[in-house]
């Protein structure tokens, strides 16, 4: 049998047969969509409506849950806190870790390796180990109940993964690129801003999205360091709500939606980047 000869059914053999494939995909799609739809529908109901008909469409949709949450300055405040903490943490981490990664690669040799390994150690440390002494340090420094404290801890705990990914990228850049610039009299400062950073924009963007999702959704550090409701970020505020409203799901789900909207909007517009960022994070984290 010659290679060019047509073998019946040889194409696309790796696909599972079509019908079971569609059944499985449809079931999984339902498993994803239904809970999400229930969240939206429930948020548009009053508690009475929810108890009467938990899974029906909202017959008389109301925005009262949303207006109450945002108007009462409860979630409005934490929305602002989350935005500040996330934006500052992500920007600062990107700046500090791209500078550090660049320095590690430029130093090279034994010094570069030692510093790199020191940072990489952080990948192996689970948050629960460091959190007890961290709490003590934060209390001593008066960083509890402060957004600055949250920002500092966010930078500290994501240093390792960001440096891991960024050094990995900087290392793939040809050394001649930097050396040529050096010969032309460029300082490391200029090489960093004008060559290294622009070339690595895709990697930096991937890290940015990874950090963005991580910090926006983080519960652990606000739970540890924030007791003042005025300083709570969204996940922490939502959790406090649960304690308060226990089974007021319409209210809780309105909160879930408010907390998710920025992520969802970003995801819709930056989908490809999101997937790249989150997988880079998962592979390297």
């Amino acid at each position: 049998m010659s290679v060019g000869e047509t073998v019946p059914g040889r194409r696309r053999r790796r696909d599972l047969t079509e019908l079971p494939r569609w059944i499985v995909l449809a079931i999984y799609a339902v498993l994803i969509v239904v809970p999400l739809a229930v969240v939206v529908f429930t948020a548009l109901k009053t508690t009475t409506q929810m108890y009467a008909d938990p899974f029906g469409l909202p017959t008389d949709p109301t925005m009262s849950n949303f207006t109450e949450l945002l108007g009462g300055d409860r979630l409005g405040r934490s929305l602002a806190n989350s935005a500040i903490v996330t934006v500052v943490s992500v920007s600062a981490t990107l700046l500090l870790t791209s500078l550090a990664s660049f320095a590690i690669v430029r130093l090279g040799g034994r010094a570069g390796t030692v510093i790199y390994v020191l940072f990489a150690l952080g990948l192996a440390v689970p948050a629960q180990v460091a959190m007890i002494p961290q709490y003590v340090i934060f209390r001593q420094l008066g960083l509890t109940n402060s957004l600055l404290g949250l920002i500092l801890i966010n930078i500290a705990v994501t240093c390792s993964v960001a440096i891991f990914i960024l050094t990995g990228f900087f290392q793939t850049l040809p050394k001649e690129l930097f050396e040529a610039a050096e010969v032309d009299g460029a300082s490391n400062w200029h090489i960093f801003w004008q060559i290294a950073l622009p070339i690595s924009a895709p990697s930096v963007a991937a890290v940015a999205i990874f950090l963005f999702v991580m910090h926006w959704n983080d519960l652990l550090y606000p739970l540890l360091f924030i007791t003042d409701p005025e300083k709570a970020t969204l996940p922490k505020a939502l959790l406090d709500f649960k304690g308060e409203y226990s089974t007021n799901y319409p209210m809780l789900f309105a909160g879930v939606i408010i907390a998710s909207i920025p992520m969802v909007v970003a995801y819709v517009f930056l989908q490809r980047w999101f997937v790249a960022g989150m997988t880079a994070g998962s592979l390297k984290g």
Binding site: M1, P35, Y51, A100, S160
Partner: protein, 310 residues
């Protein structure tokens, strides 16, 4: 993008041996200071606290040597339960999530418009917060108006209705399902990337050799997707072993420690029961377990691949 470019010869660089530019140290300093101060130093301190009876509030504490460790390992039934739950949760999530994400990846690896849309949908839960996912699933599992019980009633299976998260034997597995729902899409994307690197010609060659679908999967797909599988299993193992937010926000570890895992127990001991020293010892054991799991996993992978191609 691919292999790092090899510099042909080190001769040129040797001759112009660079002195260390102090500016590079300035670049390093801020990240290094924050990291050393708030991550590495606290980790070292955790070991120190684990040898004390500190409550986290008082100024003083005494050194108790290895007492915390012996207590934990010999007569603390809650700790034993949390360790057991950690493994139950981890194994369920690793097996469920790996199999499911591979299956979905195989079904969506082709770049059709529907595939791309479904990938986006399946990935979506990953971007939610654990708190949101916890609320969604406590609502599903709610004994009175939860989706799960309603659904069972709808298909005439009232007999199977139950207080899901109130079940002391099974609640931890129900939370594992929530975790699988949360992250399967993320792992599916990793598998799709792995699958897309397998050259189409290999399937053609296998088909010419008369390989059926199952043989193509077991002889071509499975061996070649092994690197992706290793990544997914390794990541999922650690991610599920460290799960925290989801459990704190859904059950808080209850009822009666039924869903308490190590990470939540450490938090409770330290910040609810004010046993910082004791909690620090738990956290040290936690790291040791993670290290052991990682090593065992490497061994298992090496064994499974028979010391062969990789």
């Amino acid at each position: 993008m691919t292999a790092p470019a090899r510099v042909p010869a080190g001769a040129i660089r040797r001759r112009h041996r660079r002195r260390v530019d102090p500016l590079l140290l300035v670049f390093l300093a801020p990240a290094a200071v924050i990291y050393l101060w708030f991550v590495l130093w606290p980790t070292v301190q955790a070991v120190h606290y684990s040898l004390t009876d500190w409550d986290g509030i008082s100024a003083g504490y005494t050194n108790v040597g290895l007492d915390n460790y012996t207590n934990l390992l010999t007569n603390d039934s809650v700790f034993a339960k949390a360790v057991g739950n950690s493994f139950k949760f981890m194994l369920t999530v690793v097996i469920g999530q790996t199999v499911l994400s591979l299956l979905l990846a195989l079904m969506l690896v082709r770049n059709s418009r529907t595939s791309v849309a479904l990938r986006a949908l399946f990935f979506f839960p990953t971007i939610l917060s654990s708190v949101s996912v916890a609320f969604i699933w406590t609502f599903i599992y709610d004994p009175t108006f939860g989706l799960a019980n309603r659904l069972l009633a709808g298909v005439g299976l009232q007999s199977l209705q139950q207080p899901w998260l109130g079940d002391q034997q099974l609640a931890i597995y129900y939370l594992a399902i929530a975790q699988i729902w949360f992250h399967t899409g993320q792992m599916m994307v990793v598998f799709i990337a792995g699958l897309q690197q397998i050259p189409e010609e290999l399937y053609d060659a296998a088909a010419i050799d008369g390989a059926g679908r199952w043989q193509q999967f077991s002889q071509v797909t499975f061996p070649l997707v092994r690197p992706a599988t290793m990544i997914v299993v390794a990541y999922t193992t650690i991610q599920s072993f460290k799960a925290f937010d989801l459990i704190i926000a859904s059950t808080g570890g209850g009822p009666n420690y039924a869903t308490e895992i190590l990470s939540t127990l450490i938090y409770t001991s330290a910040f609810r029961n004010f046993e910082m020293g004791y909690a620090a010892a738990q956290s040290v054991i936690f790291v040791v377990l993670i290290a052991v799991i990682t090593v065992l996993q490497r061994r298992a992978v090496a064994l499974a691949s028979g010391g062969g191609d990789r």
